[in-house]
């Protein structure tokens, strides 16, 4: 095969200086071991093993249908798995019930389609979890909620309903809602894919600042710029298998598998 990167000058031009490649951290927070998941006959996760350390940012990429969303959703058990184990902060994922609800409150999730509660204001969206799950006092939750909305740059939208906000603002509100639970880790499933191009940047900026602040993050995205600048590792999935797992510079400069090379060349031609 041709030297990877040679026919992809744009990538080389974009190669960042001073990324966080080798800043890998302490104990593992999320550990998947031999995870298998089927949808009927479809083997969506095929013997997936993965460990994400505290403070680590892992970007998951791969072709459509490769199982990226499913992988993300198994981590807070929105999808149950068929075999293997998933451990979060040293504890295996509990089955349905109170313990699972508690675990989910410790793992923030951001969806492609935002999924803000349509009948609640932005501030109510952000305070609902702290008040109903964490039993915080409404006044305290409100104060912290406003601070979070300020942090993601939409404090002035607090009293509006989701439908009144732009996509970028809604997604930032959804990030604030997840952060309000003071999660130990955050999962992002294509957080910018439903956005108009001019709004992608504002959401990525929030995510980048989270990564800098040491949040543990698993991010499914096709934003290669984010992967290069903010990720410690890039994971490439195909057909439910975890095909590659490497630091971004290494992955983009020198993808080992044919599938990854093929995938990279495709997303680069657009």
């Amino acid at each position: 095969m041709a030297q990877p990167g040679v026919d992809r000058p744009r990538f080389r031009d974009e190669r960042p200086t001073g990324t966080v490649d080798d800043v890998t951290t302490g104990e593992p927070l999320i550990v998947l071991d031999g995870v298998n998941k089927y949808f009927g006959p479809l083997h969506v996760l095929d013997d997936v093993s993965l460990s994400v350390g505290k403070g680590e940012v892992v970007v998951v990429i791969g072709p459509s249908g490769s199982g990226k969303s499913t992988l993300c959703r198994t981590i807070n058990r929105l999808e149950p798995i068929d075999s293997g184990t998933i451990t979060f902060d040293g504890t295996p994922l509990p089955a349905e019930g109170k313990a699972l609800a508690k675990l989910r409150s410790e793992v923030g999730m951001v969806f492609q389609s935002f999924n803000l509660f349509a009948h609640k204001t932005i501030l109510e969206n952000v305070t609902l979890g702290p008040v109903k799950v964490r039993k915080e006092k409404p006044a305290a939750a409100r104060e912290r909620g406003l601070a979070l909305l300020d942090r993601v740059g939409i404090a002035n939208q607090a009293e509006k309903y989701p439908a009144q906000l732009s996509g970028g603002q809604q997604q930032r509100a959804a990030i604030a809602r997840a952060l309000a639970m003071q999660p130990k880790a955050m999962l992002f499933d294509e957080p910018t894919s439903a956005l108009d191009p001019e709004m992608v940047g504002e959401v990525l900026d929030v995510m980048t600042s989270l990564a800098r602040d040491g949040m543990t993050m698993v991010v499914v995205t096709h934003e290669m710029g984010f992967a290069r600048h903010a990720a410690n590792r890039v994971i490439f999935m195909a057909d439910g298998k975890l095909v590659e797992d490497a630091p971004p510079t290494e992955f983009f400069a020198n993808p080992r598998s044919e599938r990854a090379r093929d995938f990279l060349s495709k997303i680069l031609t657009h």
Binding site: R104, V107, M109, A118, H119, A163
Partner: protein, 224 residues
């Protein structure tokens, strides 16, 4: 109208409709609570509860109401000795309420469930993802948004319940349709007017009910 000029007949007419209203009111409350609970069962993650909800709906929705009311009287009361009141009329009334409630709950359940299905799945997922329990998710996030889609079919269920209440006449409660039958028997010369008065009274109760639910559905519209 000479028939209703007779105070005895007028009393019978009024008490017949009073029974209908009481049957409807009591059964509506019980069926609503039961139906929402069954709908929650049917969308719950627990297979046993889902099975229970589905079985209830399939059994009671597909059995003629007359059979259910007969079973309440001849099965629960005559054979199994279930007595709900020492007063004969009240006993029949409550047996009727039991039958109407279990039957109507099946329809309430399906109305609520179809309303729940109009709420995008992402709403419940986001709720679960922040750690709300199943029942919190339903109560705080899903049901409030299902409101509009549920209210209109619930109105139809309530209207059907009110008309179905006449079936309790078959187990001896002198409700409106039994009174009508008696008046027709006694006044063969005024069959059509008697019929029109009873039908008109039902319409006078139910047409505004229908409009009220339509208005309520519009008020509950959720903007998204």
């Amino acid at each position: 109208m000479h028939v209703f000029a007779d105070p005895t007949n007028l009393d019978a007419y009024l008490s017949g409709f009073l029974w209908i209203l009481k049957l409807t009111g009591a059964s509506a409350v019980i069926a609503l609570v039961l139906g929402v609970l069954l709908a929650a069962f049917r969308v719950s993650p627990v297979p046993v509860l889902r099975g229970f909800g589905a079985a209830w709906v399939n059994i009671f929705r597909n059995t003629p109401l007359t059979l259910i009311i007969f079973f309440c009287y001849f099965g629960l009361f005559s054979t199994l000795g279930l007595t709900l009141s020492d007063d004969l009329n009240l006993n029949n009334f409550w047996l009727g309420v039991v039958g109407l409630s279990v039957y109507t709950a099946a329809f309430v359940c399906e109305s609520v469930r179809s309303g729940i299905n109009t709420v995008p799945a992402g709403q419940a997922e986001a709720a679960r993802a922040i750690g709300l329990t199943f029942f919190q998710t339903l109560r705080i996030v899903v049901l409030p948004q299902a409101g509009r889609a549920v209210v209109a079919p619930l109105g139809s269920v309530l209207i059907a319940l009110c008309k179905n209440a006449t079936i309790v006449g078959t187990i001896g409660l002198i409700e409106a349709s039994s009174v009508m039958k008696q008046l027709i028997n006694d006044n063969g010369d005024a069959v059509i007017p008697i019929f029109l008065v009873f039908a008109g009274t039902f319409a006078a109760i139910l047409v505004p009910t229908g409009y009220f639910f339509g208005w309520l559905a519009n008020r509950l519209a959720v903007k998204r």
